[in-house]
Symmetry: C2
Subunit: 341 residues, 2 copies
DNA sequence: TTGAAAGCGCTAACAA
DNA sequence: TTGTTAGCGCTTTCAA
């Protein structure tokens, strides 16, 4: 990086007539070091413009102080919030981040993990791609005792902590709300159900129906990619249903918005003919007309918690192995679901 | 990171009965090494599960292979796209990223730079906060010859490359489009004009007016923070104007959308009474009704170009010092600006 | 084309 | 409470 000579602990040691080891100790919170020695060292270091050399330290300690982060897409609003939270914690705690995106492809996820493994990350935070079905590609890390924390898109694994919301309850809340508005035939637009979040939301949907004795009708569940385009096509499918449904619960806001647009174009009144509830509380939810009722949950907080849990694990040897951390979610009621009585 | 013994070049050297130096050479594209020796080394390394130790290498070479990235907010749609582009390039070229956000505060920007300086980043990619007015806080890096590339929100500096779009031309295009729709009184809602992007867009606005001999009226320029809330307040201000303007050009989509919402609520017809053009082409632009005419420009590409330019600079000693790289933008015409003739 | 040897800057075991 | 010492794993100069 630079060709100018850097100040090292040896330089400080020389000036202060102590050993480099003492300087090294003085620069951290080492026990057994005299207070005034420590102060002298810190002062001199500052005066001489000393910069800690992380790489020498890493080499010696065999720690990289680097955390890997893999998300499906950095530019997804939810995930950029999570990353923002992770960044905040990591920066504060002196960890660096390697960030990578799977683009929802299992192949990319495998590649990223290999690269990160080679970069010797200390730990990994990951939200799985929609294609991911097993943890085989993660075993490489676990065999080396590199801790792993899943967030949002998770999978069951005995050795890993998961940071999630209660997707089943959230799906239940959304569906129950629609039922309370008088809906009887509710379509559920969902993602690939090998992904926990989508499977759980579906479960919640089923449970809410069951509680009011409505039989589950699998023809009302549409599993798609939850993109703009796929949802528009699904909307056309919905328009052909006989009889028309009176409610839709979609597993993300993008698909909800796309759907509303399409339905409105076909002359359907939202929420009077069909009430709609989304998921994620993205910015578009308050732009679409009518404003979208949705499930909100704290992305930034999820990132912060995942990161600090991981860092705690890295710093302590005796960690109580938390298996699952569940964050709160909330049903945010707006106009898209409120039928006039 | 791990307590298991790693395979080192010494282990390979021992197996192959050569020196560690030869192994080190064989593992890269060192000239002066026999082809079959090289192949033998590479094969054995792979067989033994050798992983290159970046930290030992960094320590020795005094390079960190780490690039710093500072953006105002990670969760901004545009900046998350840029980061996505930077990540892609950095990952491919074997660089790590340290990402930090200024939250539009100069104080945070200064802190992040200090932290990154201490982490000995090889180079920095930065999009400045709205508060930033000078490059004093960057001199620390430049004195150490750490290359610096500005993107999007930039500032003039002789030693630094800047990756931008032609904001003046974009502002001109937006305004000219409104004029062509028959607008005579165009409000320009802009950000803080100490930031290049906003100053330039204003310039373009002025130029377009001048070309059709409309006098610039400073009371039609509203400088705000360009948030949802600030734009809503500004919309109220616009509603009180006598006479009402017939066009609005805002410097981002968030404020355009907020504005449209507010104006519609007051009974203004968009675009017939007031035509609106935004900036950035965010997802909300196609959700608002009427859909928002806006300026689109390639965030992901900007990130990719900024990153590869920086990495080129790092790898070569004799770099032609590109001062400014200008990317294309385009006017995306939607309903919010098209007055019926 | 290859090898010997030194050292990047730090930390930690052990000794004093 | 402090010092001595021996590396962490790699690269690179110099010599062969």
């Amino acid at each position: 990086m630079t060709h100018y000579k850097e100040v090292t602990i040896y330089d400080i040691a020389e000036v202060l007539k102590v050993s480099p080891a003492t300087v090294s100790r003085g620069l951290k919170d080492h026990p057994g070091i005299r207070k005034d020695t420590k102060r002298k060292i810190v002062d001199t270091a500052k005066k001489m413009g000393y910069q800690h050399n992380t790489f020498a330290s890493n080499l010696r300690r065999k720690k990289t102080n680097t955390i890997g982060v893999i998300v499906p897409r950095i530019e997804s609003h939810f995930h950029s919030l999570v990353i923002s939270g992770i960044e905040k914690v990591a920066n504060t705690m002196g960890y660096n981040l390697i960030i990578s995106q799977s683009q929802e492809l299992f192949k990319n996820e495998v590649n990223s993990i290999a690269t990160m493994f080679n970069s010797r990350i200390d730990g990994l935070l990951i939200s799985l791609s929609n294609e991911t079905k097993s943890t085989d590609h993660l075993e490489m890390l676990l065999r080396k005792k590199i801790p792993l924390i899943f967030f949002d898109r998770v999978i069951e694994h005995p050795d890993c902590t998961r940071v999630v919301i209660d997707n089943k309850k959230a799906g239940y809340d959304a569906t129950q709300h629609l039922l309370k508005q008088g809906c009887k035939r509710i379509v559920h637009m969902d993602g690939p159900i090998n992904r926990n979040v989508y499977a759980d939301r579906l479960e919640g949907y089923k449970q809410a129906l069951q509680e009011v004795n409505i039989n589950f009708d699998s023809s009302l569940v549409i599993n798609i990619e939850l993109t703009d385009k796929a949802a528009a096509i699904a909307a056309q499918q919905i328009l052909k249903m006989q009889p028309l449904p009176d409610g839709i619960f979609t597993a993300n806001d993008i698909s909800a918005v796309s759907c509303i647009r399409e339905l409105k174009r076909a002359g359907i009144r939202i929420p009077d003919d069909i009430a709609v509830v989304g998921f994620n509380n993205e910015p578009i939810a308050t732009v679409i007309e009518p404003n979208l009722t949705t499930i909100g949950y704290p992305g930034r907080e999820m990132g912060e918690i995942a990161a600090s849990t991981l860092i705690n694990k890295l710093n302590k040897t005796n960690v109580t192995n938390l298996n699952t951390i569940v964050l709160r979610h909330e049903l945010i009621i707006r106009q898209s679901s409120q039928k006039k009585k």
